[in-house]
């Protein structure tokens, strides 16, 4: 798969919602594009091209003041939502031109994730979980191999999975036996041609009260998968 061959008009999860904490700027990559992710004090998540429109400095080293993202280099402030520059410290009386605007990507929060699209998707991302079931999102794991290799490896099996089915090239579902009967949904985020992020959630009608051991168990399974794939690819 090359970056160019992937449809831009679909949603990809970038991060678990609870990890995008206030007054923080996270850094993500989707299909080769770097994205600065930040949440304003009203709770709204922003995903912008990771590049200040002034001098090109990465916005992910900037400061989230709760209303704006402030570039670390010259202090230009860009407003949550629009990305419009609202203040230039070197010219405090100037109303910044409309062209001074961060490039804003489509972003939506659903089902415990922040999702982004580089294009114009027609539908919303959705995860079907039976009513009365619970779900828990796992620690996302970055792997330095192409998304296709990760999908193929998951398709060939996952610990305690009775079967694994491919929903589409970025989504797989494992039907689970064992301690939490239900399913694990794998959502693959292509970071580049050579790296992807495995997001995953467990859905079950029998989740443990303290999820920490479940989180550790799946984290161990996914990091083992990562290490094996990277060793096979000589990429580790």
């Amino acid at each position: 798969m090359s970056e160019a061959s992937v449809s831009q008009d679909r949603w990809f999860p970038l991060m678990r919602s609870e990890e995008l904490v206030p007054r923080h700027v996270a850094q993500a990559r989707l299909l080769g594009q770097e994205i600065a992710l930040w949440r304003d004090d009203a709770g709204r998540a922003n995903g912008w091209e990771n590049r200040c429109p002034h001098r090109g400095v990465r916005l992910s080293i900037g400061i989230n003041d709760g209303l704006h993202l402030r570039c670390q280099y010259h202090g230009w402030r860009f407003a949550s939502g629009s990305g419009q520059c609202s203040f230039i410290p070197a010219h405090p009386d100037l109303v910044p031109a409309e062209a001074f605007r961060a490039h804003v990507y489509r972003l939506i929060e659903r089902d415990g994730y922040v999702w982004a699209s580089l294009g114009n998707p027609l539908t919303l991302p959705s995860i079907d979980i039976p009513s009365r079931w619970q779900s828990i999102t796992l620690r996302s794991i970055a792997v330095n191999v192409a998304v296709r290799s990760v999908a193929a490896a998951l398709d060939s099996g996952y610990p305690d999975a009775a079967t694994v089915s491919v929903i589409d090239e970025f989504t797989l579902r494992a039907e689970m036996t064992g301690q939490e009967p239900g399913f694990v949904l794998f959502l693959l985020q292509p970071m580049s041609d050579a790296a992807c992020l495995i997001h995953a959630l467990v859905a079950s009608d029998l989740l443990p009260g303290d999820g920490l051991s479940l989180l550790r168990r799946h984290n161990a399974a996914l990091t083992a998968l990562r290490d094996r794939l990277e060793a096979e690819a000589g990429a580790s």
Partner: protein
Amino acid sequence: MIRLYDDALSGNCYKVRLLLSALGLGYDRHPIELYPAREHKSDAFLRINPLGELPVLDVDGLILSGSQAILVYLAEKYDASAQWWPAGDPALRARILQWLGFAERLNATVGQARLHEAMFYPGDINALRHEAHRLFRVLDEHIWFAEAAGDKFLASRTLPTVADIACFPFVMLSEEGGISRLAYPAIRRWTDRVKRMANFVAMPGIFDAGAALV
């Protein structure tokens, strides 16, 4: 009187400045230029520290080298609250010592990669970066599960210790060695928490995080 033999660009000296600031201690800064002057290898400095390394701390004639040892000394001697080097909990002290050892590994990988890129030190840059990423994966996983358990810092639940100060500089300076932190979201959140410690000071290449949401 406390005197610090110091270079503004040294991550290991920066650790000591961070703790001195956190403890509110005044000190005399004695600059020793690493690059390009290589003053740390001069005869005069080798008489102070035969290893030819910064930082060196001189406290009323007591000469100490090794940034981790200096941190522990300053915390034990001057921190009446025992926040930075807590007493009375052997497991906690052992965990902190593990992170001080981890900080040495960061120095030997991330720190060396940075010196290779910025100051033309010798070294196998690909091997250094590879090992640095391996350490960052360990650190990110540790912090992620610490957060899941409600902990904010490397070794203790609510307050930073010398463990956080020792590991922070070479994590933050990694980009100067060509080591991206993009794939380590939990590390990135932890560095914001360290930057928001009371009396935090920056250094060239490390910026403030801005105010936390209160």
